[in-house]
Every structure is written in structure tokens, then in C-alpha cells.
């Protein structure tokens, strides 16, 4: 199987890897780079546990080949906290009990970040639509919506 040398900027740092053509981005992150915060929950691009930002856009990293990330920027949950300070979305999830088992949480956080990057004051419906590609089995979404609203308010204060 052919391999390719790629360079991906992950959470601000350039990283190189030799990858097989078929390697999925999620496996590059989890197994080659040992960033295990990004999770895998299905095989059909439905659950969103593997959501990361690719050049700022949320993508399901189980449906992106590692080679497609060559020369691009990837943001994962591990990059959210800056200088020991939680991102407002992380704060919101903790404050509003927006997680239970924690498995869908990294994907939800990344989707929430992407939403708030494009909308300062999302309505409940905007939030529900934004996270509709991220499945959560524990929370019933009520507190996830509130967590993102909390983060939106925090970001507006800045």
C-alpha cells in the first residue's frame, strides 16, 4: 500500500507523518499522534463523536482521509484550553451538566465552538440544528443546549 508524507498543523503545531492512503484522519489523530480525546462511535458518519475542526470547519474525522488533511489545520478538544484557561464552551459543559459519560463530549465541544465562531447569539433552534449531527445517548441534549448558550453569553462578554 502506498504511503504519503504529510504535514498537518494540529492545535497550532506542525506535525509530520507517513501515512497509508487509506488511513482515516481520526486514526492519525488517535493512534499516530496519541490525541485520544477525539472518539469513534460509528462507521457511517452519524454519531459525530469524532468531530474536529479542519481549517475551522467541523468535520467528522472518521470520514476524512489523513492525506486530505495534508497542509491544513486541525483543531481537536486537546487544543481548546489555552494558558490553563478553559474555553467558554468547556466551562459551559461543566457548569450546566452538559455531559454524563463524556464520550460524545469532545465532538459536541468542537461543534459548539464552530457554531459560536460564526454566530454570536444562537437561538435554541440554531444550537439544536448545529449539534444535530452529534449523537448523545446520556443527556437528552437539554443541558448541552444550555451549555452552549452559557458559552455564547461568556463570549459576548469578552
Amino acid at each position: 500500500m502506498a504511503t504519503h508524507k504529510i504535514t498537518v498543523t494540529v492545535n497550532g503545531a506542525a506535525r509530520e507523518a507517513d501515512v497509508e492512503s487509506r488511513l482515516l484522519l481520526v486514526h492519525l489523530l488517535r493512534e499516530s499522534f496519541r490525541l485520544t480525546g477525539t472518539h469513534i462511535g460509528c462507521d457511517t458518519t452519524h454519531c459525530g463523536a469524532c468531530t474536529v475542526l479542519l481549517d475551522g470547519q467541523p468535520v467528522k474525522s472518521c470520514t476524512v482521509l489523513a492525506v486530505q488533511a495534508d497542509g491544513r489545520e486541525v483543531s481537536t478538544v486537546e487544543g481548546l484550553e489555552r494558558d490553563g484557561k478553559l474555553h467558554p464552551v468547556q466551562e459551559g459543559f461543566w457548569e450546566k451538566h452538559g455531559l454524563q459519560c463524556g464520550y460524545c463530549t469532545p465532538g459536541m465541544l468542537m461543534t459548539g465552538c464552530a457554531l459560536l465562531a460564526r454566530t454570536k447569539e444562537p437561538s435554541e433552534q440554531d444550537i439544536r440544528e448545529a449539534i444535530s449531527g452529534n449523537l448523545c445517548r446520556c443527556t437528552g441534549y437539554v443541558n448541552i443546549v444550555q451549555a452552549i448558550q452559557y458559552a455564547a453569553a461568556k463570549l459576548r462578554e469578552r
Binding site: H39, T44, Q90, C101, T105, E129, S132, G140
Partner: protein, 788 residues
């Protein structure tokens, strides 16, 4: 209820932010698939495309030639060690890998061990299996007919497909009550096969050390201690001994009952690690998870309810056929083949009842696990809440009025049910009244009448359920003979900080927080200073695990009891320090003081230090205690839910406009966590009511075997739940708590179905089976001439 402790101590009643969250919101959880050990190999599984077939041959030559493939394990490999079959929790037998035939589609046929997961998948593609298809039995009713192919040909004396016949209650007395009834209603209802679909699938890393002989298995299990014992019993003959087995259940990405069973994949990974001498990781994908792991429900119920003209219910009769798949691998307590289905008399003062269940083999995957409920309690609640509405419709009575008339009165608790349970406490009318007030029941009925006159379809549905959780008293409850107690071990360090270990295992329920709050409540040590650990069998005390809402009723109670033992010892130390008699001491949160002179006191922290530095002569040093708590009874959480739906006559789409849930789980430890549990439970109640089902075609091909067509609710379908509560403490639990994780999953489905049927009742509709899909509703509307 006002908390007794300060916000700093954070005992019961405080909405403490969760102690486990800082790692999860940073992506620093540690789930099974995150574990990577040096030299670790990967396993992938070859699965059967047929639901019933003889295996003519398995050719592994091509697979073994794939670079990086190290081994292919088949039933023949395991048979050499007599590990190709294993016992189930219900004392049936289950194949680990087949040697003769496969019994369901997606059954494990062989396993490939390779250096990485991609190569393992290549190896799976290269294994050649030659099958000879056999007649498939999909329908459990046909499976019971004389002449049906007998599926379990491995069992010498088995001549049919019946697994068990179970019954409860007095059949003759019930029949007599039916004969005397003014009104009898009858209803068939099917509670379809569904799947818990926790977002993390199942898997393990098995690590056998050839030098020490120690086997460590990191696995997605809700019951690590029981699993250790099962492994020792199943593999004792090949040299695995219980002291050399360590099960670690790390962070678990949702369980809901699906991570109770021992799946073949775990056992094969262990066998592979033992044979190869390297760690082996197996993590199933979503399709394997949905297609092969344990299912829930699959109950075909026939219910009959007898009543007087005035609506007084007099007797209940239920006959059920339970499709168990090819083996009885249900996760019930051993003496309860139909779980706690005998809670089917629900919240009503029914004098007579009789229930029977026949378990049946079919060519489907095994299971019969819970899907976020205590054993078969959702099936029972669905049945009684549905048939109650059928009776209301027959009598032309308001369903709320009918319920109020038949509730077990508050003063009758503890209440002995017709099927033998002693309900601990309840106030059912209060919960229903609160729900009716909150949603504005009378106004909604008016609105419905107006809408109906205009041809619009709106329905209001009630469910007033009673659960039975917290198994359980050891006199009745065991799993493979192991009594269903649970445990806590608390150590107070010299500086007054605590480590507390429990026999349960959180899968998202927040035990690290709630257990810490229980210790804080009992000892006055801040919950922030209490480190909770679970899931490692080398360190935690033995317990039966977390499922069936048993953690707070059993291990939570053990935590309180262990803390009280510590307090007893602390009192002795305090008397020594204060030079007074023990009887002269009074306890208030966090300290002992001398009666009448409150300035003479010692805090629990002072006492902890003294326990290691200045303990009384003749007393053992240290401050720790263990409790194995055997509850005197189960607990009976309850609630009343009201759902309002609007139905689109053009599409058949059901929209939940409002849903009010009034829950009563006794005393509450962390209100925020309780609300979160109810939100999640409601959503997992809505899921099978409107969306989820796993069905099979006549050849046994699974329908709904991936998230393409197994429809887990998204944020779009899920309404904004409205919660409220009443508090009726359990009289026998040391904290008055009852457990809450599953109430809403039990209570929600009938509220939704009753609302849909209520919306269609004037068209002559009396029942709709779940899931209530738009297609199903549209067909009904079309048939009744009401489709747009």
C-alpha cells in the same frame, strides 16, 4: 429539601459540579480504545452472513498470508482448550466461536489477530468460510409450533424451542375475578427489539503476562468483579485463577445494560493474548455493536384488564411470548427468567393478577438486557399503562380520573402487591396532580375538543409508572449464585482526606460526585476532599456492578453504612481526646462536641489525625471501614408523566409539543445530576416510542443494523423536557434514596403512545405499537379516511 450541610461540605441536596468533568471536557478521559500497550496487537472478527447455517469449512490460508496477520482463531482452535462454548448468566450456553453451525446473522465465526486494526480487517476479508444454509426461524410464535425446526441441536434432549415458562400470581382467583367483572378489555401489544447503542461500543484490551501468569483485562464492563469471577469459572480449567485476574473498567462511554454481558469478543481476545503472549485489543464497530451485541425488549404481550362499571380495576392477566434469540443470555438475576416483569400491576390497587411468560429460541442474536431499566420493568410499565388507557377508552372515562380512582392510596404503604412485591413508599395521586397542574390538564382537554372539531389531531397521554430497582435483597437475588449486595470501603487519611472505593462502576451516572457527597453528608468531610474510585478489581471491594438503578440503593447505602462505622470509631477517639464518656458526645456535621459545652469539640479532621498519631491504648490505629450492604427490600421510584402531541395529517408525523415529567426518587443526593438522569432517560424513552427498532426479514437478515437506519434521537427530535418532583423517602434505605437513572426510560414510552392514541381515539383507534413512525400513523389515517 434544604441541604443539611454547608456548600463547602457539599453533602446531600447540593448541585455540586461533577468531579469527573475536568478530564472529560479536556479530552482526557481514559476509555478502553484509548489504551495502547507496548507490543499490542489488534483483533477483528469474521461474522456470519447467514442467520442459520452449517459451517462446511473455514479456510484461513489466504488470511495468514496477509503481511502482519499473526493468527486466525476459529472454533476448532478454542475447542482444543474446551473454550468454544461458555455459560450465560441465565445458566444457558453460548458459543464463543462455532464449530458446527451459526445461529444468527453477524455471529462471530473466526477472529484475526494482526499488528494493526487495518491489517486485521484485511485478514477478515481474506478468511474463506463455506456455509450450508439451514431453515431460519424468525417468528417466536412459529418457533413454538409443533414441527418447527429445533434450533438447539447441541442440546441432546431438547425437542422444541421453548426456553422457559414462568408465571406469577393466582391464576384461578384471577380467572374468577374476570368472570365476575362488569367490563373486560383485551389488547395485544408488541414491545420491539431495540438496542442500547451507547455511543462507545464494546471492547477490551486483554494483557496476559506469561512470566507472572497474570491476566489484566481492560474492558467495557458495568460489573467488573462479577466478570472476574466468571472468567475464573469459565477458564479455570486452562489455568486462570481468580487472584491472577484483574479486570479494569476504565471510563465507560455509556452502558445502559449493554455492557453487562460477557460477549464472545472479550473471551476470544483473552484466549488470543494467552496463546500469543502479547496484549490484544478488540473494539467492535457500530454495525457489530448493533447486529451482534445483546438486544433489549422483544416482548409479545397479550394483556387483559377486568373492572367494575365505575372504573374500579379488579384483575389483570398477561400472557407474553419473549423472543430471546438463540440462547438465553439475558442479564437477569438467576431466579428471575422474566426479570421483574411481575411489577406489571404498576401503581394500581389490583387485588388479583396473573402473569406468564414463555421464553423462546429463534435465529437472532441473544440478549434480553435492560436498555436503561431494571429487569423487564419497561415492558411491565408499558403493558399496564397502555391497558389502563384502553380501559379508560372503553368506559369513556378520563384517563387521569381512572388512574386517580385506582392508585394505591398513600396510607396503604408499605403495600403488598398481588404479585408479591412489598412497595416501600409512594404518593401516586400527588405526583399525578402535580403533573396535571403543571401542564394545565383541564385547559389542554378544552383545546383538544376545539381542535378535534376543526379536524386537527392533538392528543394528551398520561403514564403513572412504578419502578422496582436496587436489586437486591440477597434472599431473593443472585447472579450465578453470587448475592446481589454491593460494597464500599472508606479510608480517612491522617489529614482528614478520604479515599472511597465502591463495587459498582459509573458509565456516566456521576458516581465520583454523588458518592463523595454521601461521604460528605455522613462524615462532614468536604466532598471535594473525597476521592472516589471504582472499576479496578485489584483495589475496589467486591460488588455486583452498576445496572438496574442499583448503585445508590446498594453501593450508595454501603457508603453511608461504612461512613457510620467510621463515625462510631471517631466517637471513641473523640471521647479519648476530650476525656469524656462517649454518651456525653453529640454529633453535628463534621464534629463531636460535649453535651452542654459546645466549645469542647473535636472535628472529624482532628479525630482523623489522632487516629494515626494519638489513638487510645487498646484500640487499633487508623480510620477506615468496609460495608457490604444487603438491602432489606428493593426500592420503588415512581412518577407521573404527561405528554402532549400534535399529529400532521399530511405526513403522519408525531410532534411532542410538551412533556411534563414529575419524578419521585426519594431523597435526592445531587439535584443537578438527578435532573440530568431524567433528561437522558426521557430521551431514551422517546427513542423506542417513536424511532428505534431492530427487526428481521424472513431470512433472518437484520433491518436496522447501522446508524443509517437505527434511528437514535438527535437534538432535533428531542423536545425540551419539563421536570418537577415530589419527594417520598424510602423508609428502608439509610439515606431515604431510591435510585433514578432509569425511571424516565420506563415511564416515558406509554405517555407518548397514550398521547398518540388519544389523538386518534375519535377515529376508532385503540392501540398503536411502537415505534410510532410517520408511516405507521399515515397508514392509520389513510385507513380511517383522515389523511390529508
Amino acid at each position: 429539601m434544604e441541604p443539611k450541610t454547608s456548600a463547602q461540605v457539599c453533602g446531600m441536596g447540593h448541585s455540586m459540579k461533577r468531579k469527573e468533568d475536568p478530564r472529560f471536557i479536556r479530552g482526557r478521559g481514559n476509555y478502553v480504545d484509548d489504551i495502547q500497550l507496548p507490543g499490542m496487537l489488534h483483533m477483528d472478527i469474521v461474522r456470519s452472513p447467514f442467520a442459520h447455517a452449517k459451517i462446511k469449512s473455514i479456510n484461513t490460508d489466504k488470511a495468514m498470508k496477509v503481511p502482519g496477520v499473526l493468527a486466525v482463531i476459529t472454533g476448532e482452535t478454542l475447542a482444543k482448550y474446551n473454550l468454544h462454548w461458555m455459560p450465560t448468566l441465565m445458566s444457558d450456553t453460548q458459543m464463543v466461536l462455532p464449530t458446527e453451525k451459526v445461529m444468527y446473522q453477524a455471529q462471530e465465526v473466526a477472529a484475526v489477530i494482526a499488528t494493526d486494526r487495518y491489517i486485521a480487517a484485511d485478514g477478515v476479508e481474506a478468511v474463506e468460510v463455506d456455509y450450508d444454509p439451514l431453515p431460519v426461524v424468525v417468528d417466536p410464535f412459529q418457533a413454538l409450533l409443533p414441527g418447527a425446526p429445533v434450533l438447539r441441536t447441541d442440546k441432546k434432549d431438547k425437542k422444541d424451542n421453548r426456553i422457559f415458562h414462568w408465571e406469577a400470581g393466582d391464576r384461578a382467583a384471577t380467572d374468577q375475578a374476570f368472570a365476575q367483572a362488569d367490563v373486560v378489555v383485551k389488547q395485544d401489544m408488541y414491545i420491539p427489539r431495540i438496542h442500547v447503542a451507547s455511543i462507545e461500543t464494546c471492547g477490551c484490551v486483554a494483557d496476559f503476562d506469561r512470566v507472572t501468569g497474570k491476566l489484566t483485562v481492560y474492558m467495557t464492563t458495568q460489573a467488573p468483579h462479577a466478570i472476574r469471577t466468571v472468567f475464573a469459572l469459565v477458564a479455570g480449567h486452562v489455568g486462570l485463577s481468580e487472584e491472577k485476574i484483574r479486570i479494569v473498567s476504565p471510563d465507560i462511554g455509556g452502558g445502559f445494560g449493554g455492557k453487562v454481558p460477557v460477549y464472545p469478543g472479550y473471551v476470544i481476545a483473552v484466549a488470543a493474548s494467552v496463546v500469543i503472549g502479547k496484549p490484544v485489543k478488540w473494539v467492535e464497530d457500530r454495525m457489530e455493536n448493533l447486529q451482534a451485541d445483546s438486544f433489549a425488549r422483544d416482548y409479545h404481550i397479550h394483556a387483559e384488564l377486568a373492572a367494575k362499571k365505575d372504573g374500579t380495576m379488579t384483575a389483570l392477566k398477561i400472557k407474553t411470548v419473549a423472543d430471546h434469540g438463540y440462547t438465553d443470555a439475558a442479564a437477569n438475576p438467576s431466579k428471575f427468567p422474566a426479570g421483574l416483569f411481575s411489577i406489571c400491576t404498576g401503581s394500581y390497587d389490583l387485588k388479583r393478577a396473573f402473569a406468564e411468560v414463555d421464553g423462546v429460541y429463534t435465529n437472532k442474536p441473544p440478549g434480553g438486557i435492560a436498555y436503561r431499566c431494571s429487569f423487564r420493568v419497561t415492558e411491565a410499565a408499558h403493558c399496564i399503562e397502555r391497558i389502563t388507557d384502553v380501559l379508560a377508552q372503553e368506559l369513556k372515562m378520563d384517563p387521569a380520573e381512572l388512574r386517580m380512582k385506582n392508585f394505591i392510596p398513600k396510607e396503604k404503604f408499605p403495600y403488598k402487591s398481588a404479585l408479591g412485591w412489598e412497595y416501600d413508599s409512594g404518593d401516586y395521586p400527588a405526583a399525578l396532580q402535580k403533573a396535571m397542574d403543571k401542564i394545565g390538564y383541564a385547559e389542554l382537554r378544552k383545546e383538544q375538543a376545539e381542535k378535534r372539531a376543526r379536524g386537527e389531531l392533538m392528543g394528551i397521554g398520561i403514564s403513572s409508572f412504578t419502578e422496582i430497582v436496587g436489586a437486591g435483597p440477597s434472599k431473593q437475588f443472585d447472579i450465578l449464585g453470587i448475592k446481589m449486595f454491593d460494597s464500599a470501603e472508606i479510608r480517612v487519611h491522617p489529614t482528614g482526606k478520604v479515599i472511597a472505593r465502591f463495587g459498582t462502576k459509573s458509565q456516566g451516572q456521576g458516581h465520583e460526585t454523588t458518592y463523595a457527597q454521601i461521604v460528605a453528608e455522613e462524615l462532614g468531610i468536604p466532598a471535594a476532599h473525597v476521592q472516589v474510585e471504582e472499576g479496578d478489581t485489584d483495589t475496589a471491594p467486591y460488588g455486583l456492578g452498576t445496572y438496574a438503578s442499583r448503585s445508590t440503593p446498594t453501593a450508595g447505602a454501603a457508603g453511608a453504612m461504612a461512613a457510620r462505622k467510621i463515625r462510631d470509631k471517631a466517637k471513641k477517639i473523640a471521647a479519648h481526646l476530650l476525656e469524656c464518656a462517649e454518651d456525653d458526645l453529640v454529633w453535628e456535621t463534621g464534629k463531636f462536641s460535649v453535651k452542654g459545652s459546645p466549645q469542647r469539640s473535636k472535628t472529624i479532621q482532628d479525630i482523623a489525625l489522632a487516629a494515626y498519631t494519638n489513638h487510645p491504648q487498646g484500640m487499633e490505629a487508623g480510620l477506615e471501614a468496609v460495608s457490604y450492604y444487603d438491602p432489606p427490600n428493593l426500592t420503588f421510584p415512581f412518577g407521573s408523566y404527561i405528554c402532549v402531541v400534535d399529529i400532521d395529517r399530511g405526513t403522519g408525523m408525531v410532534k411532542i409539543r410538551r412533556f411534563v415529567a414529575v419524578d419521585d426518587c426519594g431523597n435526592i443526593i445531587n439535584p443537578m445530576i438527578v435532573d440530568g438522569q431524567v433528561h437522558g432517560g426521557l430521551t431514551m424513552g422517546m427513542a423506542p416510542a417513536l424511532l428505534e427498532e431492530i427487526s428481521y426479514d424472513e431470512d433472518g437478515n437484520i433491518q436496522g443494523g447501522s446508524f443509517m437506519d437505527y434511528l437514535v434521537p438527535t437534538a432535533m427530535e428531542t423536545p425540551a423536557w419539563e421536570l418537577d418532583k415530589t419527594v417520598t423517602p424510602s423508609p428502608h434505605h439509610p439515606l431515604g434514596a431510591k435510585g433514578v437513572g432509569e425511571s424516565a426510560t420506563v415511564g416515558a414510552p406509554p405517555a407518548i403512545v397514550n398521547a398518540v392514541v388519544d389523538a386518534l381515539a375519535h377515529l376508532g383507534v385503540r392501540h398503536v405499537d411502537i415505534p410510532i413512525t410517520p408511516e405507521k400513523v399515515w397508514k392509520i389515517l389513510k385507513e380511517k379516511g383522515a389523511a390529508e
